[in-house]
């Protein structure tokens, strides 16, 4: 929610109890995700791998979540920018390790954040078929080419959590409608070329 929420750096000290750098790396990754804050599983894993209390684990996850989200929000990619976030008296080695881990992950985190930001529904699949209509209840003989187009549209992932609804809309297009559609969409393509050439 609030990308610039203050980070409780003291809580990060619990990471000093980690048995390896990989444990720290893993925790950083898990804490970034939007489901991290409610996750009992993550809380339990953190408690046991660092041998800390539930409360300490909770504060740690919260801080890591805020820190990683802050870096993704501001798109900090340079080491100095990330180091500058830490308070002066922070444990030097831990600071360097966290900075290194964060730098490695920022591009992937930004991608994830963008994929999960609010948006209109997204087209996830497109199927089509070309038919020739040969007869109907009103016309006994004809040979009319027609297209069937089916689009599968997925609702905004950020609204629906883990299982966003997918709905399908199927429509029949005449050749003329399809040509008109392509005309319109062709204009988008022209605009894109114009923008790309600037």
């Amino acid at each position: 929610m609030a990308a610039e929420a203050p980070v409780d750096f003291a809580a990060l000290q619990s990471l000093l109890k980690a048995s390896s750098k990989d444990v720290v790396r893993q925790l950083c990754q898990e804490s970034f995700s939007s489901s991290a804050l409610g996750s009992k599983k993550l809380l339990d894993i953190t408690c046991s791998s660092l041998s800390v209390t539930q409360e300490e684990a909770d504060q740690l996850i919260r801080s890591l979540h805020r820190l990683t989200r802050l870096v993704a929000y501001r798109d900090l990619t340079a080491g100095e920018e990330i180091l500058a976030l830490f308070p002066e008296n922070f444990h030097q080695n831990l600071k360097n390790l966290l900075t290194k881990i964060i730098m490695e992950h920022v591009p992937a985190w930004r991608k994830e954040a963008q994929a999960n930001q609010i948006s209109l529904p997204r087209l996830v699949d497109l199927d089509w078929r070309v038919d020739v209509k040969m007869a109907s209840d009103s016309i006994t003989r004809m040979a009319v080419p027609t297209c069937l187009l089916q689009m599968k549209i997925q609702e905004d992932a950020s609204l629906c959590g883990d299982k966003p609804a997918i709905s399908a809309v199927t429509m029949e297009l005449s050749k003329e409608t399809l040509d008109t559609m392509l005309d319109g969409l062709g204009r988008i393509r022209d605009q894109l070329s114009a923008v790309a050439n600037k």
Binding site: Q114, Q117, L126, M151, R189
Partner: protein, 101 residues
């Protein structure tokens, strides 16, 4: 059993993952919806609550679709530029095929 497509219902049909892997479309006699209108816009996402600074272009489409009874539904969705290009390419393929039929 094959799931009926949204031929006779007014609202789009929802699918589970299993159903999405079903064999292709069935066209019923009083078929399907007709496309009445297509509107589009191109935009650029510049900022969000997750990322302060973005430069992420997208294409948004709105399809106005009428079913057999005349009921009109609007379907809006957005695509990234690569997704749009793929979409456009598929429609062009369709147009090429329909020329030959």
């Amino acid at each position: 059993m094959e799931r009926e497509m949204a031929a006779d219902s007014q609202t789009p049909v929802e699918f589970t993952m299993e159903e999405l892997c079903q064999p292709p479309l069935e066209a019923k006699s009083e078929v399907t919806n007709k496309l009445l209108d297509l509107q589009w816009k191109m935009g650029m996402a510049v900022s969000s609550d997750n990322c302060r600074s973005l430069k992420s272009p997208y294409v948004a489409l709105m399809l106005k679709v009428a079913d057999q009874s005349g009921q009109i539904t609007n379907k809006s969705f957005e695509m990234t530029i690569p997704q749009f290009q793929h979409f456009f390419k598929q429609l062009k393929e369709m147009a090429a095929v329909i020329e030959t039929v």
